[in-house]
Symmetry: C2
Subunit: 352 residues, 2 copies
């Protein structure tokens, strides 16, 4: 080992999720099966006439995109923060708001990056076990802590908790920042946005990667009180002033403006999910009631890993972790009706 290697940061070597090159049925990373809103193509064509503008730094305030989001959600521009995917937004929230000596609380079964950012920024944390049906136990979040974060719907369980439940956790945590990660809320139910007027310690994060069909553009955002957004911007500007490139600002803003397309594609995914639920049931699968664009399934008679591999051999990719408490579960993204038909055709044959 070379001397300089002693001072290299130790990390868990990570292998990115499979991005298969050949034509497959890709139900493994919760992407949207429908293309981005038509306005995005129009924005591309328009930018062609201004290709010269790419030589300039992008607007550091991301005004175009921030304005579009503020309009969509009927909030002030000073209540919106944007970043390079919700990973960037969430990471910046951890860095900005979780600087207590007390542990931050989040569920044990949840988005895997919460732990990573806590470790990265040396933030103490405690994982609260979800119950045997994978539900978050709200009372676990009552004790004193350094902040709270949970997704609603939760991932990878797809479980949505109603607004009363969410508000109960916020009400018990008014001296710390509470982040509700609503990456999948558009497929679920009411957002916690309506609670913003009541709780100035609440942050809601969202993404363009799911309901907005734009995982490829890396856009995420947070909505909160002007005070919290100001703190986020102060932190962001102090480390890296220009993160959102010109195309993400312009294409992103167009994607938000088309409310009808958004409603239509989201409705289609929910319909396909409702139907897929029934199909999975017929085949004997068990799963928590799904409220996101994926279903978290298990089968009493079939080993999850074997099933995962059999599907993969047939070009059907779903997600399998094999980690504690969820060894027998697979996360299946809701694709188009046709993709799901192919999945069920395979399963029927496999289980015969």
């Amino acid at each position: 080992m070379r001397e300089f290697e002693k001072n290299i940061r130790k990390v868990e070597p990570y292998v990115p999720g499979e991005q298969p090159q050949k034509k497959v049925i890709k139900l493994n990373t919760n992407e949207n099966p429908y293309p981005p809103a038509p306005g995005v193509l129009a924005a591309m064509k328009k930018l062609e006439g201004h290709v010269d503008s790419l030589r300039l730094y992008p607007d550091p305030t991301s005004d175009t995109l921030v304005s579009a989001l503020a309009d969509f959600y009927h909030v002030g521009k000073d209540q919106v923060f944007v970043g390079v995917g919700s990973d960037d937004v969430l990471s910046m929230c951890f860095l900005t708001f979780f600087n207590s000596e007390k542990p931050v609380f989040f569920p044990d079964i949840t988005y895997s990056f919460y732990k990573v950012w806590a470790d990265l920024y040396r933030i103490p944390y405690e994982c609260k076990k979800v119950d045997e049906n994978f539900h978050i136990i709200k009372e676990d979040y009552y004790p004193e802590n350094g902040g709270v974060i949970f997704p609603n719907p939760n991932a990878p369980t797809s479980i949505y908790e109603d607004l009363e439940f969410v508000e109960d956790i916020i009400r018990h945590n008014q001296d710390v920042i509470v982040i509700v990660d609503e990456a999948y809320i558009d497929f679920a139910g009411e957002s916690a946005l309506s609670l913003l007027d009541k709780y100035d310690n609440l942050i809601i994060t969202q993404t363009f990667s799911k309901a907005r069909s734009m995982a490829g553009m890396r856009i995420g955002y947070a909505i909160a009180s002007p005070l919290l957004i100001k703190y986020l911007n102060d932190a962001k500007y102090s480390f890296n002033s220009y993160t959102m490139n010109k195309t993400s600002l312009v294409y992103g803003a167009e994607a938000v403006k088309d409310k009808e397309y958004f409603a239509e594609t989201t409705r289609k995914i929910v319909e396909t999910r409702d139907w897929a639920e029934e199909e999975f049931k017929k085949l004997g699968f068990v799963f928590p009631k799904p409220s996101a664009n994926f279903i978290f399934v298990s089968h009493p008679e079939y080993d999850a890993k074997e099933l995962f591999e059999a599907m993969k051999a047939k070009g059907i990719y779903v997600r399998f972790w094999g980690s504690e408490r969820i060894e027998q579960y697979l996360r299946v993204t809701i694709g188009t009706r046709e993709e799901m038909e192919a999945l069920f055709a395979f399963l029927r044959e496999y289980m015969m």
Copy 2:
């Protein structure tokens, strides 16, 4: 103050550099006055036919862009790391490689973000004073340290040190990582790339924001030994798997492929700089020999701040800091010949 504010990270509130909306002569952020390579427009048109692909996560290995860069520099694909601007790349280098208890060394007058990232990641550092002519003193970098970073050419001085000088610093620091930040090298002289075969602890960083005319796309990169690039990727993947959006990968790759356009626009900027040097001299300005796409000027008889404000009032934007040791200096980006003519016309009138 609300209770939760006690745990909010304290940062220096930062005001982003001015991005004036009206038509001005913008010589304040070292952008390239020429548009991106024609291939970028062609890539935009091509992506229109694949707008559907934006619904998918981008390739986490950034293969398209990494391959184009590897070809351009005649290095292996395993020697290239890409990020969201060189700020992202440099920040990731600080995080990955500077984990010693000993201080990292860099010049006192240099890129202002080095200090910011060191503070962010709690890395000890020592700023080494450049001499009275703003030259780096290489002997200052001989004592034991936790790593070394300096730009060549340095910013905002525009001073280039030859390869022998650079190698001397690397030779004295073989047990730590040495980063040579070559954001402006294409306007200067020989790159330290030829030293990579000899020193496996060397990292060279670069950007698309200057000679590549694509500040708006936020693309930066590092070139080093496969071992160091692996460490960088391990760190990056463990915190945020998808940072480069689809457009930056595709447009970026096309920008790199057009070697002629790159050579031609770079040559034009250097020519304009050579001419501007003479013009500044005629007006009595003093400055270190410039080797980047900017000149760091001072005038014995005119106050820098007053001059800065007078220029701004006329719609000519340059950069002024007013900080220690450089209170009397302005950084003037090399624009088109026409823009520079307008600048000198103003100065001649102002100084009459």
